[in-house]
Amino acid sequence: MASTVTMTVNGKSVTGAVEARTLLVHFLRETLGLTGTHVGCDTSQCGACVVHVDGKSVKSCTILAVQCAGSEVTTIEGLATEDALHPMQEAFREHHGLQCGFCTPGMVMSAVDLAKTNPDPSEHEVREWLEGNLCRCTGYHNIVKSVVAGAKAMRG
């Protein structure tokens, strides 16, 4: 049943053996050792697993690894440069948008996608957009603040 799949992850071409049923999130975590992408549920409800596939935010527990053959995938590990955090990461740090950090990678990846399509989101728009990302720690208060500030920083 195993086959191999090739895709670009965080700018590097990777090839690995997968089963037909292997989800992208398991390929990232187990085959590639990219454990920054988390699994918080089994019903595609929590968003802890959000990554970018060809520039769009995707719940990586909802897509098979084989479906991503040939795609460009960016995970939380691929967001910062050697020298600096991404402005959205920086905004989460500055505004205390994380506590335990478990939802954080998915939140940040979702937020970056929002800011790309809507560079100046209102608080209300942020709340609507993040509806698919659960956080149990922050009450969302500081996440919303972080995303508004992060989007602003991304506008430059």
């Binding site: 975590r29 920054g36 009450g139 969302y140």
Partner: protein
Amino acid sequence: MNAQPETGIGASVRRREDFRFLTGRGNYTDDINRPGQLHAWIVRSPHAHATIEAIDKAPALAVPGVVAVFTGADMVKAGVGSLPCGWLINSRDGSPMIEPPHIPLSPERVRHVGDQVAVVIAETREQARDGAEQLVVTYGELPAIISMTEAIKPGAPLIWDQAPQNSCYDWEFGDRAGVEAAFKGAHHVARLELVNNRLVPNAMEPRAAIGDFDRGTGEYTLYTTSQNPHVIRLLMGAYVLNIPESKLRVVAPDVGGGFGSKIFHYAEEAIVTWAAGKLHKPVKWTADRSESFMSDAHGRDHVTVVELALDKDGKFLALHEKTLANMGAYLSTFSTCIPTILHSTLLAGVYTTPVIYAEVRAVFTNTVPVDAYRGAGRPETTFLLERIVDIAADEMGIDPVELRRRNFIPKDAFPYQTPVALQYDSGDYFTTLEMATKAADYAGFEARRAEAARRGKYRGIGVSSYIEACGIAPSQVVGALGGRAGLYESAEVRVHPTGSVTVFTGTHSHGQGHETTFAQLVSDLLQVPMESVEIVHGDTNKVAFGMGTYGSRSLAVGGMAIMKAVEKVVNKGKKIAAHLLEASEADIEYKDGKFQVAGTDKAKAFGEIALTAYVPHNYPMETLEPGLDESAFYDPKNFTFPSGTHICEVEVDPDTGVTEIVNFVAADDFGRIINPMIVDGQVHGGIAQGIGQALLEGCIYDQQSGQLLTGSYMDYCMPRADDLVSFKVETHNVPAVDNALGVKGCGEAGAIGSPPAVINAIVDALSSLGVRHVEMPATPHRLWQIINEKRAAKAA
């Protein structure tokens, strides 16, 4: 103090743990993989109550990759013990609570959906799961008991043969005769029956555990999602697997939220550790979210009758509570003290009620065990108190804020001895109430209600003044009340030769930001730069001992242990400095990072003293050991008592039953604050969970079959970003008296204060319809029904 204002006590220092979490470099249990590791899949009961007639392992063992299958019978044969309960409660007749056994894999009978029946271990997780699907278990179904009121009826089927009427204990507390007399003479008695809804804690990181065994050394290691690794080492080692502490290491690395649910010693921890020892290979288990729903301890689940007696001026004369508390099918680690010791001892609330009497009966049902969840007993107390105060206010025609004010413990009454054992050290309930009513524009509310009414909406405002007992806890008090542990905390402050500092704390951070807060604390106390202070926690091989993090205790107990150890370091430093400076020790003062002879400019910097301690060429060797590494245990004198007022304003849409939170204000007293940014974050998170309890969350079982109906995020409604608003939080901090840091704790306050504020607001919104009480969660469906029934009754 405040030597470094930008990093010291009181500064909103940005968190040092954030870099790793923001860049995907966190190290959670499921991120860890051990060489040669096997994977475990737990076979769980599909029935709420059944006997295990037979288990045929052969089909599972035939699945490719499956290495082993173990059952409860295997565990019993190997002498595996029972998961222990940490708190003994005696019934009113003096008899001890019924304490049934809890073998990690159930040997003969299953007692809730999700109960552990067997473990299948294979080379991959998928193979283990495939194997589990092939395991043939023959069950003999028994009638299930889900409702507490059914469970206590004579003749109800028994979950444990040794527990008649499914009763674990029948406990009483307080002054029965005094309360009866006060009720007889009362001008008014307010009475309410209410339910405190069952919740699923739902930390975002599912539980996980890896057991490892080193044949070379005979040492076991358990990596686990725990709030208290040393407690797990003690309970699992001593009671379940019979492994001495010296051969058992427990590591709780980064943990993705706990909220109480990761305090307890869970079956899976023992299963993987034991299996690793048998198979001589690491064994890993990670819960699916569906498994979390049916195996993490749940929270709350009380059915209560509360009565409050008042005189004609609205002064509280007496309070009586009668509660049924759900224990689930087994006693989880701290389950028994939640509805008793952590609950009824707070029945005075912030009020001068002179006599109080509580009756609490704990009941077994065929459900997941219930234990501490953020607040643990105190949200239940606050909910019943703040609801009955509002009911009384309404019935007596007194404004609810005014009624609270009339009964508050006065500011000058501290220390205040309540009639229910606790002695409050400090507080200022009037000021936090004042702040909250101002921030919420309580005075201007009626205009907003009228404006909303013109738009066809019901608008309401609700107040809740809470108090909680944190800083758990003085060991001797705990012991006298049935606790089977000491609840001190330990710390070690290790100064290295170059003056950098590693601090080992027995508390555990799973979102609270201890690595930042404690570094701020030590930097401030020791007057060294924050960058040179490292905080270590979560590994029993690094940290000598600890009781962990829960009950908002980390700073009030753990921080105090750190402070004590720092004091020892400074005292030893003084001795070394006195020797080097040829002065008397009594003349040395430690200031601005220097040991100085008072009144002179003769001084030695902290770094020089550290170096001397490790390079002791010129050293008082006859009287002093080399090295600068001090540890301390701190056992608190008293609990701490954070308090405050929360105010919620809502609009209910009669067409849909949907409640919109339009404003939420919290004014809290947390004592001295180290990092205000982190404290605000704790309050936000607590409020969100409290609003979740009030509006959205409810764990529901089918009453006949005992199936868990809310077993995933599709059915259990978690608060999402678009369900909530931004909160207004402020503090008025009265330093705690009974600890030298003056800190009180802030982790649970939000979840304690907020649910009654929300429900009081909804009841206020619907008061014109004659609504007197609304049960939680106040879902759109529930409110829509209430509104329609009341409107129909009015029309008729």
